[in-house]
């Protein structure tokens, strides 16, 4: 796939709210700390099938992949010029956009 397009890092389905979370081994707060040495990903089951697939790729092929490589894997959200928010972690942003685009393409192909 080519360069990811600029867009939201959330699902393309327009769904809102709590979407998902990744828990990693370590000594983080309860919500973020995995209870064992595994990476755990939780996705909001109330999302549509496509929304869940996109969030899974956001967490798994975005955050978890970078974490497993030892690279900065957390969001670094900053205000942008227009009064909105942008992702300051460019590597994460690029990886998530690429993953969501690929997941969407795969999902649509399977539906045909």
């Amino acid at each position: 796939m080519g360069e990811p397009q600029i867009g939201s890092l959330g699902p393309t389905t327009g769904e809102e709210g709590f979407l998902g979370i990744m828990q990693i081994p370590g000594k983080l707060s309860d919500a973020l700390n995995s209870p064992d040495d595994k990476i755990k990903i939780t996705i909001n089951s109330g999302l549509s099938e496509l929304g869940q697939a996109q969030l899974m790729s956001h967490e798994l092929y975005g955050h978890a992949l970078l974490f497993s490589r030892g690279e900065p894997h957390k969001h670094s959200v900053v205000s942008d010029e227009s009064g909105g928010f942008k992702e300051g972690n460019r590597a994460l942003s690029k990886q998530i956009l690429k993953s969501i685009a690929e997941t969407t393409k795969n999902y649509e192909q399977r539906k045909k």
Binding site: K74, H75, S82, G83
Partner: protein, 139 residues
């Protein structure tokens, strides 16, 4: 017998409904006291943020922070608030919730706002209820 009762009930319902509509109409037109709050669509001049929409945008840009970098939340918090005749803000309410932490951030943003320029009806300042969507979307 039952048919008669039903008919009576229907007539009664219609009478009750029409009374309710009349009551609502009266209650809308009879609001004239100093404490009245007008919905934004009922005023001649809307309240405005100092510096207009550009000022509001700048204020949001400067003061709205992403409340938690770790939680995967995405969407819009819809808040309502009243711009009083004095320009002060009160009664900030989350009309559409996104997530508790993000709702709180949106409410705090509104509470931090400076005095607004007041809304008017017939060139008289009035208290006005406004709605503002606060977007928490990473682009």
């Amino acid at each position: 017998m039952n048919k008669g009762k039903n008919k009576l009930f229907s007539v009664g319902t219609i009478v009750l409904l029409s009374q309710l509509i009349i009551f609502c109409s009266f209650s809308q037109t009879s609001i004239k006291s100093d404490d009245d709050i007008y919905l934004y669509i009922h005023v001649d001049k809307l309240p405005s943020f100092p510096g207009g929409s550009h000022g509001l945008k700048e204020f949001i840009k400067t003061n709205l922070k992403w409340p938690d970098q770790e939680i995967g939340v995405h969407g819009i918090v819809l808040v309502s608030f009243i711009v009083k005749k004095s320009g002060e803000i009160e009664s900030v309410i989350v009309e559409r919730s996104l997530h508790q932490i993000f709702d709180t951030e949106a409410v705090n943003l509104i509470k931090k706002m400076p005095k607004w320029n007041t809304g008017e009806i017939n060139m008289q300042p009035v208290s006005v209820k406004l709605y503002l969507p606060i977007e928490f979307i990473i682009r």
